[in-house]
């Protein structure tokens, strides 16, 4: 999923059903990050595991439930 704001900034969302996100699962997000450069604000891979972490430059891995359980 790609969400683009009217100022051209973009975030990418990848959704996996597994409890782990493998490196290859992030390939799509890396492609848009490298294609868009600075316009790419963040990419997240959502998964059904428990942990959140930053996997790569501007690419984060989050549990799916973070959508409805915001931590901020």
């Amino acid at each position: 999923m790609v969400i683009e704001r009217d100022d051209g900034s973009v975030i990418g969302i990848e959704v996996k059903a597994g409890t782990r996100v493998a490196g290859k699962d992030l390939a799509g997000l890396r492609v848009i990050r490298d294609t868009l450069g600075d316009a790419f604000i963040a990419g997240v891979a959502l998964h059904t595991g428990a942990r959140s972490y930053t996997a790569d430059d501007r690419i984060h891995v989050l549990p799916i439930d973070r959508l409805w359980t915001p931590t901020l």
Partner: protein, 363 residues
């Protein structure tokens, strides 16, 4: 597994505030969305906030009265709230005439269960004077009374999304949510079987009654089959021809019928994402998204199953799309809270623990 979701009292809908704000600019606000999604509730609350009443065109008596003399009904105190306007499309012409007399903002709020642009009579009547908003099924945040802002956070402070807090949601709970959907009447049901029954009845009603209001179709029996085939493509590259073939339909007919299903919000077609300057879209033309719950029949993830589904619901590697127009609208007016269901509402999921009654439902 225990069912259970807190549909507690009145569900606060994020779109309500947005609609309220837009009434200060727009003469006519049209809320469109699938049947039973909560449009009537939304309309009643808007009407109550302004001290007016809802004219319900689902009511046959009211429908006849309005059809006989729409002008009287549309000249009432603002905002005039009309529910299920598609039953009497003539009312749009009356609204137009009334707007020519007085085009102040906030004059009308109308709702319909059919995609506005699919109504031939509606297409021209109010061109440029009607503001369309789509009401989607409840998002997970709306179901559990949480204000979601992951998308805003990602844009404004992306690093803040990573925390040390571990998620406690189990796989079973994810499946439960994914198969429960975001339609209030389904969420009020306690068991998977009861919800499945509701969805079956819902689809029958849409396919048998609502389709007939939109178009005269030759191969009616193929519709449920086409819908099933399309639902099996959820979150994959859309292939209408293949789905049509499996349902015994020619490609052209399958495309037409698919548009009908879209017009009733049974499915949602998502275009591929591409920069306007790009040479080609990143990937194929469009993707399928079912507006229902995640179709349990299409994956091995029935909540009754003890084994985890081995095929992820979101199967393909990376699927990219955007909704530029709605994204722009929502980013301007209120951040991202109203963003289409792919982000906040669908696949619609239900949190568990204490299912209770009293949720507001549409019908």
């Amino acid at each position: 597994m225990s069912a259970g979701a807190p549909l507690r009292g009145l569900v606060s809908r994020q779109i309500a505030d947005v609609a309220q704000r837009r009434l200060t600019d727009e003469p006519v606000l049209a809320l469109q969305g699938p049947r039973a999604v909560g449009k009537t509730t939304l309309l009643r609350r808007l009407a109550a906030a302004h001290g007016t009443v809802v004219i319900d065109l689902d009511d046959l008596e009211t429908r006849d009265a309005v059809a006989a003399d729409p002008a009287i009904f549309v000249s009432g105190p603002a905002p005039v709230c009309i529910d299920e306007y598609q039953h009497v499309p003539l009312v749009l012409d009356a609204i137009k005439a009334e707007l020519n007399r007085d085009g102040a903002p906030g004059r009308f709020v109308i709702t319909g269960s059919t995609r506005h642009d699919a109504l031939p009579q509606a297409a021209q009547a109010l061109t440029g004077r009607l503001h369309l908003m789509t009401v989607y099924p409840l998002s997970q945040g709306e179901i559990s009374g949480v204000h979601e802002h992951l998308i805003e956070t990602l844009f404004n402070a992306p690093d803040a999304v990573v925390t040390a807090n571990a998620s406690t949601t189990s796989r079973a709970e994810y499946i439960e949510r994914a198969t429960s959907g975001g339609f209030p009447p389904a969420l009020l049901r306690q068991t998977y079987a009861a919800r499945a029954r509701w969805f079956d009845d819902y689809i029958s009603l849409c396919l048998e009654r609502d389709v007939a209001e939109l178009a005269r179709i030759q191969q009616k029996a193929a519709l449920p089959q086409l819908l099933t085939r399309l639902a099996a493509q959820t979150a994959q590259v859309l292939n209408v021809a293949a789905a049509g073939q499996a349902a015994g339909l020619k490609a052209r007919t399958a495309e037409n019928y698919t548009r009908l299903l879209e017009a009733l919000f049974l499915i949602h077609r998502l275009p591929a994402w591409a920069r306007p300057s790009a040479h080609a879209p990143l990937r194929c033309p469009s993707y399928m998204w079912s507006t229902q719950a995640w179709p349990p029949d299409c994956c091995d993830s029935r909540p009754t199953s003890s084994t985890a589904p081995n095929r992820p619901p979101y199967s393909n590697s990376a699927t990219y799309w955007r909704h530029s127009s709605s994204a722009r609208r929502s980013s301007r007016s209120h951040g991202w809270t109203e963003y289409p269901p792919s982000v906040t509402g669908e696949p619609t999921m239900v949190p568990r623990s204490n299912w209770s009654s009293n949720a507001t439902t549409d019908q």
